[in-house]
């Protein structure tokens, strides 16, 4: 008994798995990288002090996300896309900045900082002023993406949207209405130990009997 006839008895469905260049197209299946537990809160500070004791300094605690461990640690924060693998929104979340600031001039360094601010020696600057300048010699680093976009411009990357009844009748199949994508990890271990296993889970969840895989 051939594969398709066996599958026909099961009235199987077919899923296709493809790789997309853009996370916007294929990244929807990946788990978001939200922490599993809420970040530890800052320590509560008592405001009651003895009359003769100096006021306690604010506790300088670091409030950060729970460190990732195990498989999660080896997983990229962004499955696809260029640039920093750390989302910008996470950069300032590892340190509770508020306890580090104070207007108390008696604290070491604060008076010096305030005086420097008055003289405009130091001052607050916006953290991000715009997109960084691309060095001329690296100006073509966008070219592959430009070419890729032109190559598939306006074209359904995996054109399996409406296959004819004749085609599906050949395999007595039904086509699953969605597909799954995996990124290029540039790591065989990561692809095998993470992405491929996710695809297996997805296909098992979909109950597919045949997977068409399309590299682009």
């Amino acid at each position: 008994m051939g594969l398709v006839s066996l599958c026909a008895a099961l009235h199987h469905r077919i899923a296709w798995a493809s790789r997309w260049n853009s996370g916007a197209l294929g990244g929807g299946e990946f788990e978001s990288q939200t922490p599993s537990t809420p970040p530890p809160g800052t320590q509560s500070r008592s405001l009651t002090t003895a009359a003769t004791d100096p006021p306690p300094l604010p506790t300088r605690t670091k409030a950060g996300r729970k460190p990732r461990a195990g498989r999660a640690a080896s997983r990229p924060l962004h499955a696809s896309g260029s640039g920093s693998e750390v989302p910008h929104r996470d950069l300032a979340e590892h340190v509770d900045v508020q306890p580090l600031l104070s207007d108390d001039l008696s604290q070491p360094g604060v008076a010096h900082l305030k005086f420097s601010q008055l003289l405009r020696v130091v001052g607050a600057r916006p953290a991000v002023t715009g997109y960084p300048t691309v060095p001329p010699r690296l100006g073509d680093h966008e070219l592959p993406a430009d070419l890729g976009e032109r190559h598939t411009a306006g074209h359904q990357l995996v054109p399996l949207g409406q296959p004819s009844d004749d085609l599906l009748g050949r395999a007595s199949s039904t086509l699953l209405g969605h597909g799954h994508g995996v990124p290029t990890e540039y790591s065989q271990r990561r692809t095998v130990e993470w992405d491929a296993r996710r695809v297996v889970e997805w296909c098992r969840g979909d109950g597919v009997d045949l997977a068409l895989l399309v590299p682009l």
Partner: protein
Amino acid sequence: MCHQTVSLVARELESAGVPTVVIGSARDTVEECGVPRFLFVDYPLGNPCGRPWDRRDQEAILGAALDLAASAVAPRTTVQAPNRWPDEEWRVRYMRVDETNRAELARAGERRRRARRRDDGD
């Protein structure tokens, strides 16, 4: 491209009991990885399922993939699809950048970056 990624996924699916057919255009990469069933489509990268907007071509390739799923009896079976890209000179021109298309590519890239910045801002 990502033929190696997809080939590794195919091997993992097969080991889990899910039959696979890889439809790709980088024959050396896929065969080096070793997949059970591979339909080789001799098209420019990015078009393994057929020419854009050519439904007949796309269905022919998909049909060949289904036939391969039914007919392959041994691992590492490679079948070459008979389909031909209309322009026989595509290998010479594929991904070529010269003065004839540099400005057009730059404009397309700028549109893409603008769209990406707009999306990132949302």
